[in-house]
Amino acid sequence: MVSVDDYGDFETAWCPGCGNHSILKAVKKALASMGLEPHESIFVSGIGQAAKSPHYLKANVFNGLHGRALPAATGIKLANPRANVIVQSGDGCNYGEGGNHFLAAIRRNIGLTLLAHDNQIYGLTKGQASPTTTQGHATKAQPGGNPSAPFNPVAVAVTMQANFVARGFSGMIDHLADLIVQAINHPGFSLIDIMQPCVTFNKVNTFAWYKERCYEPQGHDPEDWEQAIRLANQWGDRIPVGVIYRGTRPAFEQTLPHPTNDLLYKNRPARDVLKEIMNVYS
């Protein structure tokens, strides 16, 4: 039996009341409920407050560069397709610096679970607008209001038919834990965009703000793409949470030719095969 305690208890560098704490709880809960032992998962993150999450639980960790968690995770998954690879980072990291990688990961449909901590602000660099910040939202860096329209990651992911797209809220820990389990179990690329209050720098999208708006839509069929598109675009007074879209594309890593072994590092070049290849040049 794996329990939440097996994932340890660490002192964090987060502000009290930050949404990251609850997301961490949900992650541990999800992994424990799946019976996954700490060493069976690899957490990959970029840079930011959210990206510190993997340091606060027991797991294998690759904490890379700002915006580059997805490519690093892709390499890890290709080298070890059996590993449970979870990517965790903020909205700035995933959709700003890493925007191109986000689109490519959806297209590639590699078997990763992306947990995007979406606090609609840059936390670690102290309150600049992020790609998901609402237009007009005034920040210290954008005192006249953020001039750009926000990026809607859920809508983009559904439009591109990402294999699993969900929206979560850090204030609904059990609901979020359940989403994480579903995302891990679904083959191919999974996104959970998690709304998360930043109590220090985002005075607009507060816990109460999210709490008032988040609702679980009844009777939604995640396999219905057009319904999903409509739901993904719903934002404002009411924000739907839960699984928005589920596709059936085969996972990228399952389409690869791995003739000798799933774990790439175990492949050693056979001398006769090498010789044959060399002879082609004669």
Partner: protein, 558 residues
């Protein structure tokens, strides 16, 4: 009978000149000749002016020459651009539609001898083979090997065209360009890129990610096409940044990883180099140089990115840079690069350039039995609770384990970290980790490849070169006359060990640096390294600023 010939085939992209050139080169190598091919092409898929220059000799040939013995003109422009390079007794082969007057002209009825334009390259092959006096069975064999996988009728048709071209050439009765016989054993026909590719395969590469960029694209393309039976995974990334991060990720997961790119792509990879340095992840990075800055001359050659590679990545960490001078060295040094990357747990570079990447040579088959696969990461630990990815050790090298294979945890971090991999801002830990990372330089320095010296003990003029300049420098030495010139060639350009070259350079009458760039990058590096090591340093790297107290405490004023 000639002992050496320089054949230049010129035409537009899309006219199949590379195919004729490659077939001819293969036939020459199989006939026992030494060859050197220099390819020139423009950055376009159709049109433009491209050249494929094959130099063949009974004796060793090492670089390109400008004088042409046989010019094969597939278009008018070839004549315009190259007729001035013809030797007096040179021969121009051309289609009758191409205009030229004067002696030494031979028209080949490409259209008549070939049933369709598809076969014109075989006409060229047949004609040239006959002209050089090659045994007909050799080009026949080349055709069978290359088209053999297709339908038998395709082979038959091609053989018929070859036969027609052969007898046409014989009827012309030209013997003047026959090559003297050789009994040298045929070798492999390899470009510099091929040497690197075979080296990577022999070293057991598992993973290669890339974003296409001339002249390195051929490396991942070939690994993909030929490496399936070896289980190699090749992934075209969305950009170079993704490519290097993927390769580092795969390496973290245990795979032997590489990326291949050129200067412009490498510029994007630089943050990844730093990541490999900080996370102590082995990775082999092949940089095929071409002229910059920016997009520069995309299909030409230069050795202009040494400084970029040497200083790439922010922060301080050790690295090694190899620079092969020919395909054999490409093979050996790539094998070495994989081994060193694993042993030093960090980035190791193979620096080539377009000239080397694309130029074919005849190379004796590699002795694969000599290649030991590099060390692999481990997959078990006696007491999993005690495993630390960045454990402080005497030589700075920590135990590298593959994650998920046992109950231990592998934590790697781009932030400064404790020995267990977790993030820290403790400045003492910072200092210890900086020293640990830098101390791995010892491993790299232990077996720096010494430069190769070619020439007599005492020499008037010493040519100092690196990478692909080897062949041209050696040819210059040969042509300069007996015992006049020595050549000192560096196949490892970083780190340098002054014991390897100080004496040699000091004893030469004069030292002349030869490199393909405008600012003598290697010369300056070497000159800098020759300065005797000074122990007068006060250094600080715990993250705090220097202050007077710190300086005075370390300043011996007594």
């Amino acid at each position: 009978m000639r002992r050496e010939l320089n054949i230049l085939i010129g035409g537009e992209a899309g006219q199949g000149l590379v195919t004729v050139g490659e077939l001819l080169t293969k036939a020459l190598i199989r006939s026992g000749y030494n060859v050197h091919v220099c390819q020139g092409y423009m950055s376009r898929i159709r049109g433009g002016h491209n050249t494929f220059a094959v130099r063949a000799g009974v004796e060793r040939v090492l670089g390109p020459v400008s004088k042409i013995d046989i010019l094969v003109a597939l278009n008018q422009e070839t004549i315009t651009l190259h007729k001035g390079q013809m030797r007096e007794d040179g021969l121009v082969l051309k289609d009758k539609e191409i205009e030229m007057e004067g002696d030494g002209l031979l028209e080949i009825p490409f259209k008549e001898l070939a049933p369709s334009p598809l076969f014109e390259n075989v006409v060229g092959l047949g004609f040239l083979s006959a002209l050089l006096g090659l045994d007909k069975a050799v080009p026949q064999g080349c055709i069978k090997d290359i088209f053999g996988k297709k339908k038998p009728e395709v082979v038959e048709k091609n053989l018929d065209v070859l036969e027609a071209a052969y007898s046409f050439a014989r009827k012309q009765g030209i013997q003047s360009h026959n090559l003297a016989r050789t009994d040298q054993k045929p070798g492999l026909m390899l470009t510099g890129n091929d040497g690197v590719i075979l080296g990577a395969m022999a070293a057991g590469v598992n993973f290669c990610s890339y974003y296409p960029m001339t002249p390195s694209t051929g490396i991942p393309m070939t690994l993909n096409a030929k490496g399936k039976s070896l289980g190699i995974v090749v992934e075209q990334a969305e950009d170079e940044i993704a490519a290097i991060n993927m390769a580092i990720g795969a390496s973290y997961a245990g795979a032997r990883s590489m990326v291949a790119t050129s200067g412009g792509g490498f510029a994007l990879m630089c943050e990844g180099v730093s990541l490999a340095g900080m996370t102590e992840t082995p990775i082999v990075i092949v940089v095929g140089q071409r002229p910059g800055p920016a997009t520069g001359l995309p299909t030409r050659t230069e050795q202009g990115d040494l400084n970029l590679v040497l200083y790439s990545g922010h922060g301080e960490f050790p690295r090694a840079i190899f620079a092969p001078g020919n395909p054999e060295q490409g093979f050996d040094l790539t094998v070495r690069a994989f081994d060193l990357a694993e042993r030093s747990q960090g980035p190791v570079f193979v620096l080539t350039d377009q000239y080397l990447a694309d130029s074919y040579r005849n190379v004796p088959p590699f002795d694969l039995s000599r290649v030991k696969g590099p060390a692999s990461p481990g997959d078990s630990w006696p007491d999993p609770q005690t495993y630390q990815r960045y454990a402080l050790t005497d030589d700075g090298v920590s135990p590298r384990l593959v994650p998920t294979l046992g109950p231990y945890l592998v934590v790697a971090d781009s932030d400064e970290h404790y020995p267990d991999g977790h993030i820290t801002e403790d400045l003492e830990v910072r200092t210890a980790m900086t020293e640990k990372r830098l101390s791995k330089e010892k491993i790299i320095k232990q077996d720096v490849v010494p430069p190769d010296y070619y020439g007599p003990d005492q020499v008037q003029t010493l040519l100092v070169c690196w990478g692909s300049t080897l062949g041209p420098a050696l040819e210059a030495q040969g042509k300069a006359g007996k015992n006049k010139v020595g050549v000192l060639h560096f196949t490892q350009v970083w780190p340098l060990d002054q014991d390897h070259f100080r004496e040699r350079m000091g004893s030469a009458g004069r030292v002349v640096f030869v490199e393909s760039n405008a600012t003598a990058q290697f010369a300056r590096l070497l000159e800098r390294e020759v300065v005797p090591d000074s122990k007068n340093y006060i250094l600080r790297y715990d993250g705090l600023p220097l202050d007077a107290e710190y300086i005075l405490a370390r300043l011996d004023l007594s």
